[in-house]
Amino acid sequence: MTGALYSWGLLVVLGSAVIGFGALAVEKDDLHRLLLIDLVEIASIGIIALIGTDLAEALILPGLVVGIAELLALSQIYLMKEDLQDRPIQIPRIEVLQESPAPLILSMILIVYGIILSGFTGGAVAGLGVIFFIAARACTENFHLLELASGFSWVLWIAAFFVFMFLPGYWYLALMGAAVGILIKVITKMSLMGVMWEARS
């Protein structure tokens, strides 16, 4: 019964991909094509997920990362070719965000909770708190410091994996190193996005 469900799911996802490709063939606008391509890529992630084994979890993340990287690259090229790079962005002025202490409290709660969670999920939660704070308070940060922290944390994450492979006896150290590394990596990446958004406004 479960196997039949997976087959139906695969059929639905493949059908969605075919419909997406059909829409892509008809679409003329470059931006809409990019959006449709991203939609079709979700279908590929669905195909991977429908393997239905533990291996699927290990395969989805690299597939997502590659898809996001390609999407970011193409978005940047679209901005360059359409000459949209220095367009000013106006963040709406919302009194409850920009004048009350609520954003600070909420951001602190999210950051502390993210640090306790650690790992990728913790990084995402804490990063969200940082973005929320930056968007609400309109403060600016040093890009280079954030990028430096991001780079060093990435190295820590990779080093932790090396320790896992070559020195398995020190697995706890590697586990903590990987958790802290990915936590800082995701926080800095997400806060960088928030800072770039703010810096262009």
């Binding site: 991909a17 490709f21 892509l24 470059d30 094509r33 990019l34 391509i37 991203d38 079709v40 890529e41 279908a43 590929s44 992630i45 195909i47 991977i48 429908l50 393997i51 239905g52 084994t53 291996l55 699927a56 395969l59 690299p62 597939g63 590659v66 898809g67 990287a69 390609e70 999407l71 690259a73 193409l74 940047q76 090229i77 679209y78 360059m80 070719k81 994996f161 896992f164 492979m165």
Partner: protein, 209 residues
Amino acid sequence: MYLEFGDIVIYFSPYTLSLFLLALVFTVLVIASRPERQLDIAFGADAYTTKDISLPEMRFRRFMAIACGLASMGAMVTGDVFDFCLFTSLVGICNVGIVAAVRSRHVQNAAYQYGLVALAGTVPLFGGAAIVAATTGTLSLIELSKTVLPAAPAVAKGFLVLGVMGEGMAPFYAAKAEMFRAPGAPYVIMCSLSSLLIFLRVIEVVLQM
């Protein structure tokens, strides 16, 4: 010959080793060489014009060409179907990156269209790898080459070949050909070499499964 790196297995055979060495030699050439000026002949006169490349553009293109070379090297020797798909996607991104810094709108348009095709190519690529994993239970090329496991279905092999063709083989190479209008050999040549190498490797991968 296998080189185990945790659960990542690097697989050297005479075929993959020769492709790897080709990619390595070309990557070293890219590291060592300086960009050439693109010449445009002025028709009707004994004259030509050259296009100068700015230093930031040169550095970025050299970096992306080296990254493309490294990704090609990885794709040549990987012993895992999914790693091959990841390296192939990385080759596609790097190919876009090699010409992304060029200030010509025509080249950027071509790079964008090529990027869309490469992005579309990742769908059958990862789908094929997923089908191989689901039907055979493994992604290891070494295990798949043995006759103990059931053979991978033809549709999975077809998807893998289609995905690699989307990275720059006929009939999808039209946009890639337009990208070569960008100034700055030898970095641009890495685009065609990387596509050729991954196509040669995917033939070997598909025949092994």
